[in-house]
């Protein structure tokens, strides 16, 4: 820098003086004078957690970003908790969050064997929709979708929920009938969807080829308030809110055993030692079967790899989510410009987090026909996650044969969209012993013949 007068520096130092006054920005956070208590306390968030806001950014900008704190603490486990949640993915963290927020149960640990949000929460295609056929499914998925609408405000964390609209293409006569049936069911359930014409599809998605030749677009099931969200941010936002409530998010802590006494859970053994608990929630998706075995019961679940891939980033070309289930491919454009593509599930049990190579070809081949402009795109990354599939393709939110142990799993190929509703319902189940949202999703429903058959309605070919 040369000498002389620097108007920018002078202005900044003036601002810095101003920001150093502790009261300087307090007015910004007292957003309501009519309700008693600090706004953060009213939201159930510890007042010592710093809120994210435009003012916080300004304040930190003025002190060279030295005041940002870690989003969540990294504590050592205590001897005992009221409740332990195994699995710090979206569903586990959401369960813990609503245990604290809705039921005041805050002496909670969330144990994660890897890193937070490193499983399926960070491996999905971020699609959010609730256009399911069966009533119990529509109830929990629509609860989840509606919670996504206000999640950024609730968590004080931008999860970038983008209700850009989701369409599921009908490319056979059978699909037309199926989706019209779903649209009627959704009307009765209070879920806003409609069956739209091929012309409307073309208006919404100009880059689509609706003429076939193999599978022309004959219409679509359209959910205008479906969309996407930033998947990592969902996990991070929940983790931060849980930590702010005093909960312990403990990463790199694998559960190696479940201790029971007289048919009741008393704690878990982990790579960080034994931890006692009164209630235990198993929320570990692909590894649910492995963990259930440690607890001494079996789950009607099989684990398979499901893949996704993204292209190089390109200019904005598609502002809705398109799912083409007959040809099996679904695609949306991320905010970075990458085309996010959902692939196929392996045909055999495995825990590889890779998936078979030939599914990539099948998916890309299908999408090339539907979206000719992507034919020369380079694919950047491919990955897999382990999905936990039940026989009727609906989840398990359930008590188990061991008293005090609850499971939340079986979300299969479509768990991300359900995270807040799943956590809301699972928290109620764990706190009160039952929940209207989970009643139908018992792990014993198969034996009782009460399937929630979504294998044809779930949207993806399983």
């Amino acid at each position: 820098m040369t000498g002389g007068f620097q108007p920018y520096d002078a202005l900044m130092s003036l601002f810095r003086e101003f920001a150093a006054l502790p009261v300087a920005f307090d007015w910004a956070e007292k957003d309501s004078k009519t309700t008693r208590g600090h706004p953060r306390q009213r939201r159930g968030i510890r007042p010592d957690m710093k809120r994210y806001s435009a003012f916080a950014i300004a304040r930190e900008a003025l002190r060279h970003h030295t005041g940002w704190e870690r989003a969540w603490r990294s504590p050592e486990p205590k001897k005992k908790y009221d409740a332990i949640i195994v699995g710090a993915g979206g569903h586990g963290l959401a369960t813990a969050y609503y245990l604290g927020k809705n039921y005041g149960i805050k002496n909670v640990a969330i144990l994660e064997k890897g890193w937070l949000g490193g499983g399926n929460t960070g491996r999905n295609t971020t699609i959010i929709r609730s256009n399911y056929l069966q009533d119990p499914s529509a109830a929990i998925y629509e609860k989840a979708r509606s919670l996504y609408e206000t999640m950024s405000q609730d968590l004080n964390y931008n999860v970038m929920f983008s209700p850009r609209g989701v369409m599921m293409l009908a490319q056979t006569q059978h699909e037309i009938r199926g989706y019209k049936r779903t649209a009627h069911a959704n009307k009765l359930q209070g879920v806003a969807t409609e069956f739209i014409s091929p012309q409307r599809v073309k208006e919404l998605v100009p880059i689509i080829n609706i003429d076939g030749p193999r599978y022309p677009v004959l219409g679509a099931l359209w959910q205008p308030r479906g969309g996407t969200a930033r998947h990592d941010a969902v996990a991070w936002g929940y983790a931060r809110a849980c930590s702010a409530m005093g909960m312990d998010v403990i990463q790199q802590c694998e559960v190696t055993g479940v201790r029971t006494e007289g048919g009741k859970v008393i704690g878990v053994d982990t790579t960080k030692g034994a931890i006692d608990c009164d209630k235990l929630g198993l929320v570990v998706a692909g590894h649910s079967g492995v963990l259930a075995e440690k607890a001494g019961f079996r789950l009607p679940i099989e684990s398979l790899a499901l893949q996704a891939l993204v292209s190089e980033p390109i200019k904005p070309c598609m502002n809705v989510v398109v799912m083409a289930n007959t040809v099996h491919g679904y695609m949306s454009q991320s905010d970075k410009g990458e085309m996010v593509i959902g692939g196929g599930t392996d045909g055999f049990n495995n825990y590889t987090q890779r998936g078979s190579f030939h599914h990539i070809e099948e998916t890309v081949r299908a999408l090339n026909e539907t979206f000719p402009i992507i034919s020369r795109l380079k694919m950047l990354r491919q990955w897999g996650g382990i999905v936990d599939m039940t026989g009727d393709r609906s989840p398990l939110l359930s008590k188990t044969p061991v008293e005090g142990i609850f499971v939340n799993c079986g979300w299969g190929t479509g768990g991300f969209k359900a995270i807040p509703g799943s956590g809301w319902a699972m928290a109620e189940l764990m706190a009160k012993g039952h929940s209207p949202l989970t009643d139908e999703f018992s792990m014993f429903r198969f034996r009782e013949g009460r399937f929630i058959d979504e294998s044809v309605a779930a949207g993806v070919a399983h």
Binding site: I301, N349, G391
Partner: protein, 109 residues
């Protein structure tokens, strides 16, 4: 990507030539069984992270059903064997024991 060898026609091919048929060596429980037995037979499946036994079919080949022993975590195939048996043959079990000492699957070890 799996590479399997059909024990009938002897052809080795990658998995697109075959079709997975689920858990191996199931015993049927239908009429005269208890609810628990039927539940287990109908709805519960082994889902191990490790040694697993499955039925496969050589769909784009000789069409025969056969059995495969493999690891669901590493995708290693320990061997394939005849469909006409109700438990894995000794040589397959020995092969697994050499590579995964102390393994067990259902009642087999």
């Amino acid at each position: 990507m799996l590479t399997l060898t059909c024990p009938y026609c002897g052809v080795s091919g990658e998995e697109t030539e075959f079709h997975a048929g689920g858990e191996a060596h199931l015993k049927r429980f239908i009429s005269g069984s208890t609810d628990a037995e039927f539940d287990e037979y109908m709805f519960l499946r082994e889902n191990p992270k490790g040694v697993h036994f499955e039925r496969w079919r050589h769909v784009y080949g000789c069409g025969k059903w056969f059995h495969a022993a493999r690891d669901t975590n590493t995708l290693e195939v320990f061997g394939t064997y005849s469909a006409q048996v109700s438990e894995p043959p000794k040589e397959i079990k020995d092969k697994i024991s050499a590579k995964r000492p102390g393994w067990s699957w259902r009642n087999f070890k």
